[in-house]
């Protein structure tokens, strides 16, 4: 019985593999709040489809629902990859609506925003375990990367054996320290960029094709 099950699983894996290349890969853009995930998602979507994914903001948890841009075709060095970009809410272990009050928000709006944010983070975590084929992990290169959320998220991604590209964003800002991110996660390649200014996007696209193609 076990042998038959194993044989069936093996056949299933082979047939899945035969057709897998035609399917767009679902690439989740993950990272802590305010790392520039939506700015990056919009940059990629605009460069290759002409459309944006969602609004960008300096207020944490602007993205409170995962947003998907499907069938983004990226061509690099004669190689074409088709991906579905999934822009996810910033992952955190805590959400306090009072933090939103500092951004000129009424209490009702702040409570609603925090509720949506928690639902979005829960959904993003679920997707990470069940529904993505690869991860672009975005970090703000002006902040300390040695946080518990980053450590846990990278550990979760590694435990899923997902291909992961680490991007050190916001290199246009004073205080950007790409090396600090490279030192924090030496087991991964770190690519610097400014999603806002479009700096170094050529290398980002080359790496996307390499990692997820």
């Amino acid at each position: 019985m076990g042998l038959l099950t194993n044989l069936r699983d093996s056949i299933s894996r082979v047939t899945d593999g035969l057709f897998a290349d035609d399917e767009p890969k679902r690439i989740g853009i993950y990272g802590p709040p305010n790392a520039g995930k939506t700015t990056l998602a919009n940059r990629i979507a605009r460069d290759w489809t002409g459309d944006a994914v969602g609004p960008e903001s300096h207020i944490p948890h602007e993205t409170r629902r995962a947003r998907r841009k499907e069938n983004v075709e990226i061509e690099r060095n004669g190689r074409k990859v088709t991906i579905d970009i999934v822009d996810t809410p910033g992952v955190t272990t805590k959400v306090d609506y009072k933090e939103f009050l500092d951004h000129d928000m009424e209490k009702d709006d702040a409570v609603r925003r925090s509720r949506e944010a928690t639902e979005g983070v829960a959904e993003a975590m679920h997707w990470l375990r069940e529904d993505v084929d690869g991860v672009i992990y975005v970090l703000d290169s002006t902040t300390d990367p040695f946080t518990q959320v980053n450590t846990m998220l990278i550990g979760i991604i590694e435990s899923q054996d997902l291909p992961a590209l680490i991007l050190a964003n916001k290199t246009d800002l004073e205080g950007s320290d790409v090396q600090q991110i490279a030192n924090a996660f030496p087991q991964h390649e770190t690519i610097p960029l400014s999603a806002l200014e479009g700096d170094n996007m050529d290398e980002v696209y080359t790496k996307i094709a390499e990692y997820f193609g």
């Binding site: 992952v91 272990t93 306090d96 925090s114 829960a122 518990q148 550990g155 435990s159």
Partner: protein
């Protein structure tokens, strides 16, 4: 090998901490027989009562992911704002045996401190030291 249990029955006791801060130190042996959701429930029930939970052996990455997910579903305004969690950075893979690597077994043994987000603040963290400030209720 799991160490001796320390104050493992504290979670079953009525809250008699007064103005103090209660710390539940949960041994690896206590966690060993529990399912992922039972572990998460044990942690979150303690944290929601305002306790600091220290796990001798930590959680697996999959359990950490579920802990974040369940925590998010339980956050509510003016009641529970989430958790603060700290572990030492992951040990290098070089510490694993060849057989563990071959079998895909990953050691999750890492001391983990979890507390209510509104009561615990990390002051300093490196590979050898976690320093936290815990405020009273």
């Amino acid at each position: 090998m799991p160490g001796p249990e320390a104050n493992v029955d504290a979670a079953d006791d009525p809250d008699d901490s007064g103005d103090g801060v209660r710390i539940d130190m949960i041994s690896g042996a206590r966690m060993e027989g529990l399912t992922s959701m039972e572990k998460i429930r044990l942690i979150l029930d303690g944290v929601r009562e305002g306790n600091i939970v220290i796990l001798e052996e930590g959680l697996s990455p999959d359990e950490e992911s579920k802990l974040i997910e369940v925590t998010m579903t339980e956050i509510s305004p003016d009641d529970f704002t989430g958790i603060e969690i700290e572990t030492y950075p992951k040990a290098e893979a070089g510490n694993q045996s060849f057989l563990d690597k071959l079998m895909g077994r990953e050691s999750t043994q890492k001391l983990t401190v979890i507390g209510p987000a509104n009561r615990i603040e990390t002051l300093h963290k490196d590979e050898n030291l976690i320093s936290t400030l815990v405020s009273r209720k």
